[in-house]
């Protein structure tokens, strides 16, 4: 019973907090740029507005297009059921592990890229093409960096990894862990569509990637996709926080530990938000064909993390 309650709690938490994080980053950026900016809950208003609008689809779209937005949201929420958020308790870990998580992220990406190609417009094709090229480098880097942790934890279950790193005294200071952490940070920046890989604030810019994928969507479909994107973003950040830096996560489901875990999780997300806001304010977006070098670096770092683990153990 407790298990089910915890799974529901963590899933709902991720679903509910997801739009907030983007709003906080936008507000912080506005402050850094001496603007007043939109309130932090602007994203919720956007979602409410979108879900009240008419849903329009291209005449060229196949029946697949009507299902994709919901499937993408469903896949994101499925990952939530086994992600350690405030507690490293097992949850629905039997259904999915690290590789299932990466594969479901990949499934979301495939469905989004197919959706972008449905309308037969240039922007959709451009975004899908770039998205597939960049993720071809980002996905293996992500896989390998978490694989390094799986070797340490001797398990591919997310909660078990989080627990093993949290309980170990020195695993986090080893070179392989730090290299993997660096690689994962780069991947998270790329996969969440942040500067210097992509700019979430632009529309109709020739270099955009993530916004271009949903350019032909509207109404409910767009609401589902936007929400899924924010849940995905929060999931990646939570993985970074709770697998690589898992201190403070509740190891036993007692009320105090859970509350503490929740506060620590929010604090970590807050730190990430400040970091991203500052980074986005002081750096410019990279040229598209510089990005592969950036991601290739992440891939090599993660490979280095794995091999250094084999040399140093």
């Amino acid at each position: 019973m407790l298990d089910v309650a915890l799974v529901l709690l963590q899933t709902l938490l991720l679903l509910a907090v997801a739009p907030l994080w983007g709003g906080v980053v936008a507000a912080l950026k506005a402050r850094l740029q001496m603007r007043r900016g939109a309130p932090v809950w602007q994203r919720y208003r956007d979602l409410a507005k979108l879900s009240g609008k008419e849903t329009v689809l291209s005449e060229d779209a196949s029946p697949l297009a009507r299902g994709v937005p919901y499937l993408v949201l469903g896949a994101a929420l499925t990952i939530c059921t086994w992600t350690p958020v405030i507690t490293a308790h097992q949850g629905l870990g039997f259904a999915g592990d690290l590789m299932m998580t990466v594969a479901l992220f990949a499934a979301m990406r495939v469905l989004l890229a197919l959706l972008a190609l449905e309308a037969g417009t240039t922007f959709g094709g451009m975004a899908a093409s770039r998205h597939m090229a960049l993720s071809a480098l980002a996905e293996p880097a992500m896989m390998l960096s978490v694989f390094t942790l799986a070797l340490v934890a001797h398990s591919t279950d997310l909660a078990a990894i989080s627990r093993a790193i949290a309980m170990s005294h020195d695993a986090w200071i080893s070179p392989s862990h730090l290299l993997a952490l660096t690689a994962m940070t780069v991947v998270v920046i790329s996969e969440t569509g942040r500067v210097p890989v992509d700019n979430p604030a632009t529309h109709l810019e020739l270099t955009m990637i993530h916004e271009g994928l949903v350019l032909d969507m509207s109404g409910r479909h767009l609401a589902a996709l936007e929400w899924a994107a924010s849940v995905r973003q929060l999931l990646l950040l939570t993985l970074l926080a709770n697998l690589f830096l898992p201190w403070g996560i509740a190891l036993e489901p007692t009320p105090v530990a859970l509350l503490f875990g929740f506060v620590i999780w929010l604090v970590k997300l807050g730190v990430f938000a400040v970091g991203v806001a500052v980074l986005e304010s002081v750096t410019a977006r990279m040229r598209l064909f510089r990005v592969p070098e950036f991601l290739g670096m992440a891939f090599l770092l993660s490979l280095l993390a794995l091999t250094s683990d084999s040399l140093l153990r």
């Binding site: 499925t78 594969a103 990949a106 417009t121 071809a136 279950d157 794995l306």
Partner: protein
């Protein structure tokens, strides 16, 4: 309950049914007045039934059915030909039966074109020989069937009445296959010579009696021979040329099943019969597997021919199979039978999983290509709306080949990753260095394969029609689409029921690795797939799929209950005010241009631009741009080989003066040399 009678009946109907079906269409040539049903519908129906019987044989073999065999004595000296599948052959026969039935049912009878009856006969004969390759227990019969399979499939590859390209592909295919077949024949006949018998069970004791060095040499010969069929780098050159040229249902058999015959041969002759593979075999196979999966995935991603893209993807998955086998052999050699068993389970699961998905992909894409009359993705587009049922089948195949859950290629790669993690911790020193690279290679290859598959479906089936013929494409006939949809259910079922599927492979795994029980991989009453050695690591494709469905359903209910208008309005795509043309879409070439640029140092695409007319450089002049991407290994391996052969023949020509006396002199010299050597 003793079901030996049933087993014997199933086996007999599979083998004799296919043989009879292959002969029936030839009646039309001998006796043109025969009713059409007799040489078209009847053999196909018979072929499908025989393939379903082969499914039964495979399923009974997996369930531990009784060992039955058919014997037939053709009059050669030696033992009678024996067909009697054992446990190791069972998963391959199961795959063969399922794919064969779909392939034969989807055979298009093009009565107008010449040679239609012959093609049907060859198609059925090819299926029959494949079945015998997997089911026979007799070395000579295996060789005959192996060679026959190669020849018949080469005839089918060259059967395309249109092109010189197909004939040249068939030639490359034959040349490489015969190098492989020669290695296999040499090794197998040597071994039978030592055994004094052609029966597989006696070959095993002959292996044991050989000196270790001789046994290892035979094993390497077998490996080279079967690696050609499996399409491993650097012997893969024929695969992306030949597989796409055959008619789609034959391509489905080639890529879905025949490639796996290479793996079957390796498992049988290099592992099962000698008891253990030679040292370093696992390492070599693992390295070749990594290389093949990367090469296959990369070239698939940059390929614009729909069927050749699928063939390159077969190279990728053959690499995954070799990785699994190599890892298993490595671990078995370092006394880790449990982890080795996980790797072997991954391999055998993937044999069936990939076979089902790839054959479905070839069948569905073949229908689309037939309807749009072009294989180039640049001339397809918009087919998912015009051919909804074919499109659905192609979508399922695409997602399965991306190795995404819950379809049939994901659990295999998942098990392989688990074996890599475990093998890294438990294996020998070599593996500690290789496992990270194997994991990196597999992850990169999977990501590239995803890009290739998105390109195949996104450019080929979605968007607007890119050519006149694609715009007027019509759905395939109902009978064919029904076959496609039934075939589409197979990878879905194999993937959703992964824990049961893996447990069902218990018998073939035990045939190779007796210490391992694949049933141990099943957890929580069959709901999850979990290697017991890694704590708490498990997946459940079924539960994950159910969760996605549940959440998607809730999202639909919630978002539709909003205040907005229900239903979806259709409107033309917005293209910034300009009229939208099909050529404004991204092309297949453009779609993977970023990948081509990123991997340019490896791919080394070449581009030549020639200006056709002289004139002022300030004005546009007509020009011709030729871009090509010669395959990397062609350049590095094949081209020097060809040069060496040509140089050798040039040099050898000096010996041929046309003088009879000189030739007699050569004879004498040879004789003397032989006498001296033989002393």
């Amino acid at each position: 309950m003793d079901l030996a009678g049933l087993d014997a009946a199933l086996l007999a109907s599979a083998v004799w049914g296919l043989a009879a079906a292959a002969i029936l269409p030839l009646l039309a040539i001998a006796w043109p007045k025969a009713p059409a049903a007799l040489h078209d519908a009847a053999p196909r129906f018979l072929g499908v039934l025989a393939c379903l019987a082969a499914v039964g044989v495979g399923a009974r073999g997996l369930a531990g059915g009784s060992e039955v065999s058919l014997q037939w004595w053709p009059g050669f000296p030696g033992q009678p030909f024996t067909v009697g599948p054992d446990a190791l052959a069972a998963p391959f026969l199961l795959l063969f039966g399922l794919v064969g039935a779909a392939s034969i049912a989807a055979h298009r009878a093009d009565h107008d074109s010449p040679g239609a009856h012959l093609r049907l006969s060859l198609h059925l004969g090819f299926a029959c020989l494949l079945c015998i390759v997997f089911a026979t227990q007799h070395a000579l019969m295996f060789l005959f069937a192996w060679e026959g399979m190669t020849l018949v499939s080469a005839a089918l590859v060259a059967a395309d009445p249109r092109g010189a390209k197909a004939r040249s592909a068939a030639f490359t295919y034959l040349a490489l296959s015969h190098v492989g077949a020669a290695c296999i024949a040499l090794a197998l006949l040597t071994l039978s010579g030592h055994a004094g018998s052609y029966r597989f069970d006696t070959l095993s004791s002959a292996y044991a009696a050989l000196a270790p060095g001789d046994a290892a040499r035979l094993a390497w010969l077998f490996t080279i021979g079967f690696a050609v069929k499996l399409g491993l780098v650097p012997l893969h050159g024929w695969l992306p040329l030949a597989h796409p040229e055959a008619p789609a249902p034959v391509s489905a058999l080639l890529s879905g099943v025949m490639v796996k015959a290479g793996l079957y041969g390796m498992l049988r002759f290099v592992w099962q019969l000698p008891g253990a593979p030679p040292q370093y075999w696992g390492t070599v196979l693992l390295v070749l597997g990594i290389a093949s999966s990367l090469v296959g995935a990369l070239y698939a991603a940059v390929e614009s021919d729909a069927k050749r893209l699928l063939a390159w993807s077969t190279v990728k998955h053959a690499g995954v199979l070799a990785m699994g086998t190599g890892l298993a052999a490595q671990l078995a050699a370092s006394e880790q039978p449990i982890v080795a068993g996980i790797a072997l389970a991954a391999t055998l699961y993937h044999v069936v999983g990939h076979g089902l998905a790839k054959s479905l992909a070839f069948l569905a894409v073949g229908e689309a290509v037939h309807s749009a009359r072009s294989r180039s993705l640049e001339h397809l587009g918009g087919l998912a709306r015009r051919m909804p049922r074919t499109g659905l089948a192609a979508l399922i195949a695409t997602i399965a080949l991306c190795a995404l859950p819950p379809l049939s290629c994901f659990p295999g790669e998942w098990l392989l990753f688990q074996a890599l993690i475990l093998g890294y911790s438990a294996g020998a020193g070599q593996l500690r260095l290789l496992a990270p690279f194997a994991a990196a290679g597999l992850a990169l290859a999977s990501a590239l394969a995803v890009a290739a598959m998105v390109k195949l479906y996104g450019i080929g089936f979605l968007g607007r029609a890119r050519s006149e013929t694609a715009a007027t494409a019509t759905e395939a006939p109902r009978s064919v689409t029904t076959v496609l949809l039934i075939a589409a259910a197979l990878p879905l079922a194999w993937g959703l029921a992964a824990p049961w599927s893996v447990a069902a492979l218990r018998a073939p795994i035990a045939a190779v690795l007796p210490e391992f029980d694949a049933g141990a991989l099943q957890g929580a009453g069959g709901l999850t797939l979990q290697p017991a050695l890694l704590q708490a690591s498990s997946i459940s494709p079924f539960a994950a799929a159910a969760l996605v469905g549940l959440f998607a359903g809730l999202a639909i209910l919630w978002l539709r209950s909003g205040t907005g208008p229900h239903g979806v309005r259709r409107s033309p795509s917005w293209s910034c005010g300009a009229p939208l043309g099909a050529r404004m879409q991204y092309s297949a070439l453009g779609f993977t241009k970023p990948l081509r640029l990123i991997f340019q140092p490896v791919l080394r695409g070449e581009r030549v631009m020639e200006v056709l007319e002289e004139g002022s450089p300030y004005f546009a002049r007509p020009a011709r741009v030729t871009a090509s991407m010669p395959a990397m290994l062609e350049r590095v391996v094949v081209a020097p080989l060809v040069r060496a052969v040509l140089w050798g023949s040039e040099w050898g020509r000096g010996l041929q003066t046309g003088s009879l006396h000189q030739y007699l002199g050569y004879l004498l010299a040879t004789l003397v040399a032989l006498l001296l050597w033989g002393r």
